[in-house]
Amino acid sequence: MSTFFKRIMVAVVTSLALSFSVISAAKTVSVNAGLATPIMQANTEGTAFLRVALTGFELGDEVQRPPLNVALVLDQSSSMSGDKIERAKQAAIMAVSKLSARDVVSIVTYDSAVRVLVPATQVTDKSRLYNAIESIRANGSTALFAGTSIGADQVSRFLNKEKVNRVVLLSDGMANVGPDSPKELGDLGKALAKKGMSVSTIGLGLGYNEDLMTQLANYSDGNHDFVKDSADLARVFDREFGDAMSVVAQDVNIEIICDEGVIPIRVVGRESTIIGQRVTTRVNQLYSSQQNYVILEVQVPPAESNSERQIAAVNVVYNNMATQKSERKSDLVSVTFSNNNERVKGAIDKVAYESAVEQIANVETQRALELRDLGKVKEAKQTLDSNASYLDRAAKLISSPKLSRQSAESKAEADVVLEDEDWNESRKSIKAKTYKRSKQQERKD
């Protein structure tokens, strides 16, 4: 008994010491790659999940936070009138109050047309910004595409790798002037991501198009929030700006080169390019002390028991916001094969396994939503039900309370898809939830 406690004590102390040494040693992103199943069944072709975890270093006192270059793009269409616009103004003022003279901000409003209320400018005169925000009045239609375009243009005027370049878009309605399909807005988000900007979208109330808002944010790993009650706007804005201020790395390019015979299948729940053995994906930014991960599904050829082989090499290149330098990190992933079932099970990396299951189930939930959209309500329910049991099995296997919760959620959603009443709200809520899960955004909420 006492030896057990000693062991635990030793483990805790070493891990603490290790983590301290990591923090104090270097302000770099730590990259850890590994399989969810480090030991695989021998002599059978198997699917494995490779997890690349990226952990942002802590922004301590000695490291200045990165300067922001933000465009606040606010919906002032007539549907915003009343409490919504007032709350939005309060939230915007609160957000601006957090900025400092190193930051650049612009304020753009849109209804049928777009107005650059405050062109991109260094935050030196806050009262001018407050006055501009106070002057906003709700009226007209929703030119969301043009609003985003012009907001992005404001950001591009101070576009700089050393800044956190971001468009924060608030909308409560359907885009009804200009391009309005989720695909077009998604393409815009993609182009802006290529330029080095991220887009965060905040959907207010029940009138906005959640597909459009999530796709717009998707390529740049921006945040997306569904704010049902405008009273929550201040909290969401606060979180959004807090996030932007805690960015420690940007333009994170992950390259996974699979070894001969290992076939990359998909990166679960995110955009990626697979050419031959080479898989690339990009994470727009990493936040201070936050872990983000990418799950790659691979097909592993059969091998003899007790043999060991390399699966893949992982290279991560990113722009360190603290040092303003491009840094490169690498890791290797290998696997051992065994005939012993217990050994295979016992070796499971619980964290990696949990992440893989979480993302796989999340993709399934998204698929269920698509089925529901096509009117296939039964199939949607079936998908969610089997998703729930899949999550449940995995939760039991690695005894993960997190997956149990997700299983319960999936079960509840299986009932929700049957209902027509409040579906609009439920869909927004599920859409936001799956989006946040795929971006691992929920960690901060």
């Binding site: 043009a146 375009s149 200009g178 393409d187």
Partner: protein
Amino acid sequence: MTGSTLLFLHSSQIDITLNTRSRFILFLILVLPLILLAWLGQRSLIQDRIVAEHQASELADARLRQAQGVVHGFINELEQSAITALSFLQIADSISDENITLIRQVINTDPFLDHVFVLNSDRELVFPQDTAIYSNAERQFVTSFAEVLSDPNAFRLRSKADVIGQSSGASSDLINSHRYEARREGLIASLNRSKNINETVASTLSDSSDTPPRVEAGWTTWDTGTATDVYLWHRTSSDVLVGQKLSSAYWLSQLIVRLGTSLDAGGLVNATIRLVDKRQRTIYQAGEHLVRDNLDGDVMESPLSKEWLTYPLDGWRLEYFAPATPNTNFKLFVFLSSFLCLLALVFIGVRLVWREYQQKIHTAEQRVSFVNQVSHELKTPLTNICIYADMLETEANQDEHSDPARVSKFAKVVTSESQRLSRLINNVLNFSRAQQQKISVHKTLVSPDELILLTLDNFAPAFESKGIHVETDLAISQTVMLDAELLEQILNNLFSNVEKYAAQGGLAKVVSSFSGNTVTVLVSDRGEGIPLALRSKIFEPFERGSDSLIEGVSGTGIGLSIARDLARLHGGDLSLIDSIQGACFELTLKTEVFQ
């Protein structure tokens, strides 16, 4: 008298006939200029509006042309920069792995680029192609691109203006090659990870600087049903076609930014400019004028001006919206209101003139009737006097048979008729004097009751012959200062009215009283009374309760008018007071008591 009456009648008739004609002339004089004014006003307004509309549409056209210039400038720049973005590729009929890596890098970093494709001189797809290792996105692109590729006209030049470099001359070639280098240097910097790539780019750089690019280029737009894909391509010297699928979202976004900046600088306070695509979708709008849309997004308000865009944006248009020129509306308002005011003034004027004219006619008619009446009135007593004087003479000639009673009776009739004549003449004289305000009051010491009885005595024969019984209730026992003549004349008029108009009532009641310094005499009858409608009129000169010439009752129509004038001259009044039956006149006279 008769002559003047005739003259009077004649002239008034002429007056009337003249007026019916003048009415028409007056109408013409007044209305014709008004119509003319209205016509001229309307014409000038129309002209104003035409001028204003012309100015507005010129402004609209100018602004739209400016916006059109921005769009076309943007498209040209996009074309130039997109082609230069790929022109470093020295592609022969096959494509090297280095080139493929480079293309993929460019796609990953250039926001304008969705995909790149390369066709060899036989127009076969060499990149991306399914024999090589390629990504999912590339695979999808190849699938969707197959349709475009199967159209032999998809990549054919559409006009000679599409040949870049040839039309823009040497100077732009220079700019072109500058851009090339800038572009390439940027690329070298971004690709500095691989030494290998560096060398490739460097070699292409040195190659192309010798020969300025003369590029055949063109646009291809392809409708997929849900969207329009835009391809931009150019032919290299080795007849390889290098094309790219542009990110519609991004070039639209950039176009919006460009257009927005330019339009904001122009200041669109009272107007709105819209960019509408082939599918009638508003891509962008700028300006402060709120365009009236219905809920479905269809435009209710029609644009003031339109400008179509040209290839490759054929089918797209710019629209200019502005409110109808407020200037003209204001002018119309001013014109209409002043015209209406004028119309109202003319109408009021005509009404006034017309009323005056009517009044004059009325007075003239009354005068004619008055003269007729007076002549008639004078004739009756005169006839009586003549007859009785004749009879008196006959009686006087029959000396022995003369009957003193008959003589006396005849004489009395002559006397009374003379008195009546005298009263009549007095009335007429007084009336004309009153009109000239020449009557003066001579007060002497009189007993009003005695004077009443004396006057009644004078009327006794007339009352008796018409069966009018006289009742008196006289309560002024003292003498007062009064103009006896004046009082007598008033009483004469009142009694004469009773005789003329209320004989069938059979009663004339006279009540007198004195209080303070006012003598009050009430004269009432039991005749038909005076209808309500006439009560206010009976004191007007020439007004009579009924028309005598028709009904056989004589009267001049000036009696009550004179009586009231006289009473008022004496500091009193004559008024009609309410009674149960017949008429009741109350006469008051101011006086001083004299003991």
